[in-house]
Amino acid sequence: MFFQQKFRLLTTLIGIIFLTLLFNVYNLQTSDREASLVSVNKQTLDTFYIPSPRGEIFDANNNKLVSSSLEPHLFLNLRKINDNNRSQYEQYVKYNFVDLSEDFIDEIFESEDLLIRIANIQNLNFDSRQSLASLEAFEIFDFPVRKYEYNNIASHIVGYLGEPSFEDARDFPLSINPNIVGKSGLERYYQDDLAGIPTEIIFKDDEIEQIIKGTPGKDIFTSLDIKLQTIATESLLQGIELANGIYETKNKVQRGAIVVLDIRTNEVISLVSLPDYNPNNFIDGISRTEFNKLNISGAFINYSIQGQYPPGSVFKVVAYWLAEEENIYPEGLSSRNQRINCKGSLSFGFDDGSQQVYNDWKEDGHGNVDLGSSIKQSCNVYFWDIALKIWRDYEGSTAESILQEYAKNLGFGTATNIDLPYEADGVVADRELFENWAISQPERVRPEGWLGGDLMNLIIGQGAITSTPIQVANAYRTLISGNLSYPYINKNRESQPEESIGVTEDFVNFLLKDLNSVTNEGGTAHASFSILGNEVKDVGGKTGTAQNSGDKNNTSWFVGVDSVSNPRYIIATVVEEGGSGSAIAAPVTRRVIQSLREMEITPVKFGEITE
């Protein structure tokens, strides 16, 4: 039975209780307000942030590339340091931590911070830690220690850490408080994921009032193969050393890059850039001179995605694709199998009446060549003939820049969107760009504007074209797989749908066969690849030797395919001022392919000089 009477009584009682509660709140908000505002203004709640352990980075075989661990560190609570106890603490720190420099100790005690980290006390025993903790201005907190397990290897991929600059603070506002940010590589690209949430230590005056524990960052699982990365780095170093021993050039050869992509997924298997650095050296701050030395050598530039080079003959596959797709062959030819006679030079007249002579790299000429053998022997004349045909048929019309369109469809001229920061775009020039440059950067172009000669240069990857090694590797990957997408390192990166470029299976088979001929008997890279023995029949590639202006030696290129029967890897190698592609970049690539095919790995040997 429900008793209405008792219910009414209870309701009244509750009403009274709530009125007193409301009255309490009213008092707080009116009569107590002045006093509260005073204490709010006086309240100096400050927060000190300790970074959480950053996410760890793994390679495809679960090898830890970058690790994080929490180790106890000694901190000094500067709010508790006053004139009376200052010298006592100074003596204490000097006596117990002999490794610390005088300057650093002075800095500690002059700091305006709340807390300052003095030293890692992981190796101190329990008693020593206890005695430290008993001093009231000392605090012990866990502080993350970052370790780059492979030192210089893959340094451009993982990147390094540092204090955020003004720009970093703008890009990653959350990095200000723990005062640490990824400066390059994955550390920067995935800064927000890796960093986690810092631990907050809340001070009320000089006392620690509360500690809010942060959360560690997320781990990153990459597609890299650290074993291959190590071998590729060695190979590139050998190639650079070889080039330095052979050429007598003004500049010392020291820069280069290797990109290895998985053709099926477009995962990045290796990405080498030289010179490199050891990210561990940045953990406790690096000296100015050391930093400048690295900076001048170019160690902070990731040449595999930032180095912009004319691609030279490796670019010929663009015209190769165009010829097949549009049926544009040298004048008088209508199929890939018909031949022209290459005499080593091409002379012709343009409509404007100018007479030109273009000389192939091989003075005696390549003899009778078709599309396939022009790739095999890297014959320029054949491709110049295609450029002439385009120019004569389409000059001035929109179809004039058909070669550039094909290049752009393969990703030239725009960043590939790999998950690393600071990627360069490269340039694919056409009439329009020249006209823009004539206004914005007149020193870059001739007053006549875009001419037939520019197209002739472009078709063999010279002149007004630059590309990054990753772009070149991605372009070959696109042609062979038939799909354009962006290469990626983080396996959990949101993947972009593959965009079909519409090549036929027949075309890909022809392309692979012709690339295969390059490393075989009569091909430009045969000398460098013959050491593979019978297996050379299953690999392919394309050499490239790009001329530079001034007294710089040629840029040495090679793009390898492993294998031809089952296309799995693209390997793009570039050695800045490495000279002929078949002499330096090809044997470097060959050594990487030996590793991919699990063969015996032989040293990089100088190949044959061709283009």
Partner: protein
């Protein structure tokens, strides 16, 4: 089932006042969380977005529950109570989180059966009263399920459950002196538990410390409420120093609300709840169903006591007790349990043909 005259919003309908109060309270929660967060982003780590998702779920539940008639609820009371009790037993088999066993980890969300024992217990006691079971047995069953919560341990919810049980017994035909006897018995048991160390030292410390030191969170939240003044900081151009309060978006959210919207805001919030309870009380006095009377009384006791404990904690008149403010605090479990209560109350309203 009784004849229905008018329905609003759908075949089973809703009481408009109840729905509006429910939505406005949720909206107040959004607004308060908005002032606490860095704004809205469509990401479940963003507290405001989470709360909005929970609200949408709650509104859905509110309407879904309305489709269950009181006869059906009456019919399923015992199985429901049994199920929740079993879940409370099996929770002791889970891994403790920060020393307590309170949740089932369901991946995306955590399921907290102690939120639903509040509902199950009210329904259980109501049905037992209506069917005139022996009061001693009813008390014993209730005490058993309450003790399961006690040993999780969850002192806040335990107190709430005891208060719900006591209030429901109080409005029944039980004699006052029996209740006094029960209270005495409870006191004796408390000291027996204490003697055998069955009460967590941590919880005991919280109570004893309250009389010795000032809790940091409470003193901070008093400052926050106080500096809200009459009109609050929300519409002020020159804001005062930010006041740091731990767990402000959950248990201490009332302090953020009072800080932002001042005493006028507090009056509005109280007004909404008082109006709600006034409407509920009117139904209690007019409905013919004993079951409905007890259910409404039990739910009201539950909500009123939660609000009372929460505000008392936040203004520092009792020791810190982890009790969320219904429909204001951030947190899915609390909102969803409260929306079930609102759904049942709504059903009772429309079965009594009260639609506005």
């Amino acid at each position: 089932m009784r004849d229905r005259k008018i329905t609003l919003l759908g075949p089973e309908g809703t009481n408009l006042t109840l729905l509006i109060i429910f939505l406005v309270l949720n909206f107040i929660s959004w607004l308060t969380l908005f002032t606490l967060s860095d704004g809205l982003s469509f990401d479940l780590n963003n507290s405001l977005f989470r709360q909005i998702v929970f609200t949408l779920l709650a509104v859905f539940l509110f309407f879904a529950i309305t489709y269950i008639s009181m006869d059906q609820i009456n019919q399923y009371t015992f199985p429901f109570f049994g199920l929740i009790t079993i879940l409370l037993i099996f929770i002791f088999a889970t891994d403790p989180k920060e020393g307590v066993r309170r949740w089932y980890d369901l991946g995306v969300i955590d399921f907290q059966p102690s939120e639903y024992i509040k509902i199950a217990l009210v329904l259980f006691i109501s049905k037992c009263f209506v069917e005139n079971y022996n009061k001693v047995y009813i008390g014993a069953f209730s005490l058993f399920s309450i003790s399961l919560v006690f040993f999780q341990p969850d002192l806040g919810t335990t107190t709430l459950l005891i208060v719900i049980t006591l209030s429901m017994f109080l409005v029944s035909d039980i004699k006052i002196r029996s209740i006094l006897f029960l209270l005495l018995l409870g006191g004796v048991f408390f000291f027996i538990f204490l003697e055998f160390g069955l009460i967590n030292q941590y919880q005991l410390n919280r109570v004893t410390n309250f009389f010795e030191t000032v809790d940091f969170a409470q003193s901070q939240s008093r400052l926050a409420i106080s500096s809200g003044g009459i009109t609050g900081q929300f519409f002020e151009a020159d804001k005062i120093n930010q006041i740091f309060i731990p767990v402000q978006s959950t248990d201490f959210i009332f302090s953020a609300f009072a800080y932002q919207f001042g005493f006028l805001g507090v009056l509005l919030l109280f007004g909404l709840w008082i109006f709600f309870f006034y409407r509920v009380a009117r139904i209690i006095l007019t409905t013919n169903s004993e079951f409905e009377k007890f259910v409404l009384a039990g739910f009201s006791a539950s909500l009123i006591f939660q609000i009372y404990i929460n505000i008392s904690t936040v203004i520092g008149v009792i020791p810190v007790t982890g009790m969320p403010f219904p429909l204001l605090s951030l947190g899915g479990s609390s909102i969803i349990a409260t929306s079930v209560i609102f759904g049942i109350i709504n059903r009772i309203f429309i079965e009594n043909n009260v639609v506005i």
